[in-house]
Symmetry: C2
Subunit: 88 residues, 2 copies
């Protein structure tokens, strides 16, 4: 399956969430990960994230597709700002 | 078409980019918008964004699908942090 994960996470927990996401997906923007993983890996990812986040302070969205073929990805600009503090 | 737009934008331009995105899509996370729009509206959105961003300082991704039916959206946590400065 193809997964796009986006999040708004309280600073206290964002490093933990990023560390978990990196185990399963590729870091493509500051708060966006994507990748092709198995259903089992996706359940593991969800489980690990659920163990970290706080219901009322954090928000994670997983967009899942059966295949990458259903989605087109169009990019504008080429900056790699995934770790820059000046940007949002 | 269904569009998910995510961005890392230099602070100098982020307000302008958000304003444009709001014209076409729904703001669902701090740097994520989504919505169902026509092909023509998508081209207008792309054009407006291209007129704002700086190639080497900004990065926008548009994920596009023919239909929402191809994607599942699973959410964890319920915080609405789209405008909170404490979060990333």
């Amino acid at each position: 399956m193809f997964v796009i994960a986006t999040y708004d996470i309280n600073r206290k927990r964002v490093t933990k969430v990023m560390k978990v996401c990196r185990k399963y997906l590729c870091h493509i923007q500051r708060s966006v990960f994507e990748g092709v993983i198995t259903d089992k890996m996706f359940r593991m990812l969800q489980g690990e994230i659920a163990g970290i986040i706080q219901e009322h302070e954090d928000h994670v969205i997983f967009y899942t597709l059966r295949s990458e073929n259903y989605v087109d990805k169009i990019e504008a600009g080429e900056a790699d700002l995934s770790s820059a503090s000046l940007f949002m």
